[in-house]
């Protein structure tokens, strides 16, 4: 299907059927990462550094190895010799160094050795038999301190070519972009506000800890079962870290209990395989929650300076931002993403943004839903709110006045195709929430948000069965109902009932390479590939019908699940339904399948606008969210209920990030809140119902108009809530989370 004849009338797409995996998930049958076992299986456990920064002088594993229940012990020496390269060029080295420490332990919780034993209890007990001698080194966990000249150096030579000369070695990547002349723009402004903002690191907080079962033989052939957002990247990375051929490791993705970006890489999987290779038995490894907090995720912490100039009529004349992101002891903090997204909603003549990727003695940051964007939006949208307040302008009107639209040169470079930001702002203005009266002590905030969305390598296969049903194999793990969306899109093309399509997440041996379920790409890219694979099958169905009628293939078209003559000149034949063709397919040319492989490039950027009401208790500093509305452009909602779910989930995570969640480090550099009791994510009684408005401005890059919806929903909440809280409390909040002690301190400072 050519993209220029994009479909706009639908039979299945836009309906809300039950998800195909619903029954398994409400009965406890669904198999998640830790829900599997194998004959002869051993249990693994990992020894972790108690120090934030230390040289590993010696590891003595002899006592552990001598224990009767212990079948294997591994350290860094049991992994491949992966070459070190600066920045993200050496990402395999970075991942290996994170999976198992080399010369130094780089953060509290860094893995230093692992054991496989006959039971989980035996493995845990035997960890105590490993003796590690550390030479404790000075550490740094704060982003601004990590950039200071006297900061301890995490690793020399980690910076890539982008970093200007003279910066501290902990600054490992640098980004600068923009256009126009910001100084001239500030000179034109009637009011310029310059302010600084801080956000703390938060964890993705998926409820399922990392879990896997690995088997690797001395012949270099292996099997891995794991909870992951992408089993091909797990396959590729594990193979590189273990020094085996990629194709010899078959990886199967379990059902996944949440990821949000945090399961796009590997942590325990190579360790389980290394233990298995040594013990010659399958090894299961499951993280504790404390290990999840100490050694996986989290997102970056950030320190940001924003300067925006505005005219009296609300026009932004110039905007500038400096974004410093701390990403743990490895390159990868998305300072570039933060910088590029921060001003992306606006049509600006003069804009400049700078992003820093900074290392510190913390766990290696992982992607978290629109990585980098929420922090930048918090800082920028707070300043815009303050400008609106001082110039007595309506915050939605000001955003509408400056909103990017089709043809706008984005702050990060390209010109936008058709986008839906204006439509979300108009919907916000028209929504009853925006004009509803507020009670005393309440404040209302709004914010816009932007995310790029992603295409990525994608491969889909569809095969028809003799009885007219269809099997669809996709390679993107289903985290939030994507099997339902895929079946809807396939049904739309094939014209057979949704229920007659079985969608399977194929393993790495069954399908070509698939990029990770990230970048809000699944409904877009796997959806596009599903549509094209189904079209491929339809072409073959039409060929079979044409042959049976003795007319040319191009004289047959596919309509409502049947091959029909394309017009009166093609001849007078009765329509042939799909099942009528497949039932004879063995004798008319063989099995009928459809395939599609590509790296689709038209993901289509996404915008949202959030409205939130907050109530602050001046005695305790506690904030209650009393009303929340998410408005976001979905392009085309395939299964609207699950689109709403993405909007609601993004808002809820944003509420946690804004009000309560943070990594708290002691002076000793150890994480102090590594359980859910102390790292408190929002619970049911913390939240109101979350209203949603699905705006549909079709994406020109998808046959049905889909834009990804997973990530944009977490971009506006931090700013929208900060604006609401600042109005409710009467004082501008510049640091997240806005926990009760911070709000009390701000109220006190404000008199």
């Amino acid at each position: 299907m050519a993209l220029d004849d994009r479909k706009s009338e639908f039979s299945f797409v836009g309906t809300r059927p039950n998800r195909p995996d619903g029954l398994d998930k409400v009965t406890g049958r669904a198999k998640f990462g830790a829900d599997i076992s194998a004959p002869g299986m051993l249990h693994g456990a990992i020894l972790r550094s108690p120090h934030a920064h230390a040289r590993i002088v010696k590891i003595d594993t002899s006592k552990a190895e001598a224990h009767k229940d212990v079948k294997a012990v591994v350290t860094r020496a049991d992994f491949a010799d992966v070459p070190f390269k600066p920045g993200l060029e050496g990402e395999f080295w970075n991942v290996l160094e994170n999976v198992m420490a080399g010369e130094k332990a780089l953060y509290d919780g860094h893995a230093v050795a692992a054991i496989a034993a006959t039971s989980a209890l035996a493995a845990r007990d035997a960890l105590k038999l490993i003796e590690v001698e550390y030479e404790v080194l000075p550490h740094v966990t704060d982003v601004d301190k990590a950039m200071a000249s006297d900061a301890p150096v995490i690793r020399e030579g980690a910076a890539d070519y982008s970093v200007p000369a003279g910066m501290h070695p902990n600054v490992v990547r640098y980004h600068e972009s923009g256009h126009g002349d910001v100084e001239a723009g500030f000179a034109e402004a009637d009011l310029v506000i310059e302010d600084s903002f801080v956000t703390e690191a938060t964890h993705q907080g998926y409820i399922e800890p990392h879990a896997c079962l690995g088997m690797l033989g001395n012949d270099g052939k292996g099997e891995l079962w794991c909870t992951t957002q992408g089993h091909w990247i797990a396959q590729k990375t594990c193979a590189a870290l273990l020094g085996i051929e990629t194709s010899q490791l078959r990886v199967t993705a379990s059902e996944i209990g949440g990821g949000f970006g945090g399961k796009t890489t590997v942590f325990i999987e190579p360790v389980a395989l290394a233990l298995s290779r040594k013990a010659n038995r399958p090894v299961k490894l499951v993280m504790t929650r404390s290990e999840v907090f100490r050694a996986t995720g989290p997102t970056s912490s950030a320190s940001m300076d924003i300067k925006i100039g505005m005219k009296k009529d609300g026009t932004i004349s110039a905007a500038q931002g400096v974004f410093r992101l701390q990403g743990g002891a490895f390159p990868g903090a998305p300072g570039d993403m933060t910088a590029m997204c921060a001003f992306a909603p606006y049509n600006l003549t003069n804009v400049k943004q700078i992003g820093y990727d900074v290392m510190a003695n913390r766990p290696k940051q992982a992607a978290y839903r629109a990585p980098g964007a929420p922090m930048g939006a918090f800082a920028v949208e707070s300043v815009i709110d303050e400008l609106c307040k001082k110039l007595d302008l309506d915050p939605v009107d000001v955003r509408l006045k400056n909103a990017a639209h089709e043809g706008t040169k984005a702050s990060y470079g390209p010109r936008y195709e058709r986008i839906g930001l204006v439509e979300t702002l108009e919907a916000a203005k028209a929504h009853p929430h925006y004009s509803a009266p507020l009670k005393p002590g309440q404040g209302r905030g709004i914010s816009c948000g932007f995310w790029f969305n992603h295409g990525g390598e994608t491969s889909v296969s569809l095969s028809l069965s003799e009885d007219g049903s269809a099997q669809l194999m996709v390679g993107t793990p289903d985290i939030g109902g994507s099997r339902a969306s895929m079946a809807l899109m396939a049904a739309e093309v094939l014209g057979i009932p949704y229920e007659n399509i079985r969608v399977t997440i194929a393993d790495t041996a069954t399908l070509g390479y698939n990029d990770v379920s990230h970048g809000s790409r699944v409904t877009y890219a796997s959806g596009l590939a599903t549509i094209k694979a189904a079209n491929h099958a339809v072409e073959k169905l039409c060929e079979r019908a044409a042959a049976s009628w003795g007319i040319p293939t191009d004289a047959v078209k596919w309509e409502n699940g049947c091959a029909v003559p394309s017009g009166p000149n093609a001849g007078d034949f009765d329509p042939r339904p799909l099942a009528d063709i497949t039932t004879h397919m063995g004798s008319t040319g063989g099995p009928i399948s459809g395939h599609f492989e590509a790296t689709p490039e038209g993901a289509g950027v996404s915008f949202g606008t959030h409205i939130v009401d907050a109530e602050v208790d001046p005695e305790t500093g506690k904030t209650a969210i009393t009303r929340y509305t998410v408005i976001q452009d979905a392009g085309k909602a395939i299964h609207p209920t699950y689109v709403e779910g993405q909007y609601q989930g993004g808002a809820a995570q944003g509420i946690g990030w804004a009000l309560n969640e943070e990594y708290i480090y002691g002076e000793d550099g150890r994480l102090q809140n590594s359980i859910f009791l102390d790292y408190r994510i929002p619970v049911a009684s913390d939240l109101p119902m979350i209203d949603t408005v699905i705006v549909e401005v079709p994406n020109p890059g998808h046959p049905f108009g889909v834009r990804g919806v997973g990530e944009t929903g977490i971009v506006p909440p931090l700013a929208a809530i900060a604006n609401a809280v600042s109005h409710a409390a009467g004082v501008r909040m510049r640091q997240l989370p806005m926990s009760p002690p911070r709000i009390l301190a701000a109220l006190k400072d404000n008199g």
């Binding site: 029954l23 409820i207 399922e208």
Partner: protein, 159 residues
């Protein structure tokens, strides 16, 4: 360390297992009885993914020892449906898309069933506080609460 022999009843079936005194009821359900519906999300009683009912009382099975199950009546998510007929809560959770990844769903269903047995007519606030011990990171709870409230209403109308 020697193991203890435990006889108990899970979802109406008499079962036995040997367990280390340090193993939790959750460990025993999952590793010895192969009932993997209850999940370990935290191991500290904070997330509720391991929720089961013990003699009619809602508990986190990660906070109870396997040996303490001796002689008890335990109900897990695997026992909620009546054969192939789903419990109304299970049906409503599917219809309302009250799950995304589904890892918290077993615990939330056990907890919600316990709520409706004790209070067939909960307010939204009561439902939210009852389920405050069950963490969900995907949904923002909106569709979960709606599914529970609607099930409660239908069960009241049916009785």
């Amino acid at each position: 360390m020697s193991k203890f022999h435990v006889s108990t009843n899970v979802n109406g079936d008499s079962v036995e297992y040997l367990c280390d005194p340090r193993e939790t009821l959750l460990d025993c359900l999952r590793d010895k009885l192969n009932l993997t519906g209850a999940k370990e999300g935290c191991g500290t009683g904070d997330c509720g993914a391991c929720s089961v009912s013990v003699d009619g009382r809602l508990v986190c099975s990660c906070l109870m020892l396997g040996v303490e199950a001796e002689g008890k009546q335990i109900e897990t998510v695997e026992g909620i449906a009546d054969g192939d007929v789903l419990h109304p809560l299970q049906q409503k959770f599917i219809e309302h898309a009250a799950l995304q990844c589904g890892i918290c769903t077993p615990g939330i269903l056990v907890a919600a069933k316990s709520l409706l047995e004790k209070n067939p007519n909960p307010t939204e606030e009561e439902a939210r506080y009852w389920l405050a011990g069950n963490l969900c990171r995907c949904t923002g709870y909106d569709k979960i609460i709606r599914a529970v409230m609607e099930t409660a209403e239908e069960l009241r109308e049916a009785s």
